[in-house]
Symmetry: C2
Subunit: 229 residues, 2 copies
Amino acid sequence: MKYNEFLKILSAFKEEFSRESLFENRDKIRVKKDSSVTKNLERIFDTTLVISNKKGFQAMTMRDLSREAGLSMGALYSYFSSKEVLLTMLQHHGRSITKNILERQIKIEKEPADKLITAIKIHLYLSEAMQPWFYFSYMEARNLSEQEQTRAIESELYTERIFEEILQEGEIAGVFQSGNHQLTAGIIKAMLQDWYLKRWKYAKRNISVERYAEYLTGMIEAFCLSPGN
Amino acid sequence: MKYNEFLKILSAFKEEFSRESLFENRDKIRVKKDSSVTKNLERIFDTTLVISNKKGFQAMTMRDLSREAGLSMGALYSYFSSKEVLLTMLQHHGRSITKNILERQIKIEKEPADKLITAIKIHLYLSEAMQPWFYFSYMEARNLSEQEQTRAIESELYTERIFEEILQEGEIAGVFQSGNHQLTAGIIKAMLQDWYLKRWKYAKRNISVERYAEYLTGMIEAFCLSPGN
DNA sequence: GTCTATACACAGATAGAC
DNA sequence: GTCTATCTGTGTATAGAC
């Protein structure tokens, strides 16, 4: 799949999913009118990502956010009860999109080798399209409450387990070599994360997401495929 | 090389290097007595790493640091002029140790394949021994001043270039396959970083640094070595 | 050199007018 | 629903005693 095709799928998904997604935390929001929520919450989220990714969520003041988002302090606080809640909402929002898209796209493939390639590509494409959120999610994990940190770790391990299971499945089917699949899955995850954590580097070197995907899958195949496959 | 052997080399190096290293910022420190500096500065550094790695440098207050390091606010400020300067000093300190050790150990090897393995191992061992600093350095990079950020990026790219050059050298010697060595070097770096960024994960899974090193070098060799080597 | 006490700025959050 | 004005706690940093 090309990145352009993926973008279409993603935007269709967001369209369909926007109510559940953006309104997941509806009960925590004081504002009643839906149209205000959709309009302002997205603006608040986007602005938070921009400022936080530059200097950290902790260092972003509510006055910064107020100014950049074009809403008064008072208005901001009618969308969340505290800065910490804003952080939690933002994390939830991104996680549910990621999880849904990833599962949905992997299900389409039947063969382990295809599944592996697809999982890698979709993850890369996702993190390309939602880079600010992925970066934010990684860097701010330790500012979360204990409960939310647990969820973040679960989410991290969940993705890894997807890779691990595909590798396992492939070994049984005879297409993948045996090995420590958990370790391999972890290493794959690390390579995927590098893409959104070091975006500046790859941009400077003119490496497109498709090029990176190709190089990465090549490396994984060299290591995982059974000889002859 | 085993990790234990490395630790001996490291501690010998630190011994010999401690003056230059700890006193690199000597001019910025108001305290005159050397014995006070060696004793307290190391304590300040270590404590800063512990607190910051838990909740972020920004979120660590000087009162936190004062309490945990067992020094009053006033005393703290006689070792650095501001919180920002403390950050800069800490970064410098770790960078010079890393750079020196890495260069010194790689020089020993002559064959590209050995050089590559050594570079990977030494980097892993270093980040194992100095994990708090490596983690800190990665996570707090964006809180640095513009000038210091440039230095941090340079340092990051410098390490990558070491790998790139080894790969290049090996291709000419015929032991490594051709390919985009810059991309490969970046990916190797990502895998090395995962070790100190996700230490909790590997600890939980009982993966030792030696085991990780072995797995990683195995993967790199599968991808890089020319057939027949 | 190290302490205690304090200055001063600025953070997050809310009350109440519109 | 959104604004402005303001409360209160906490942050970094320093002055001056010991």
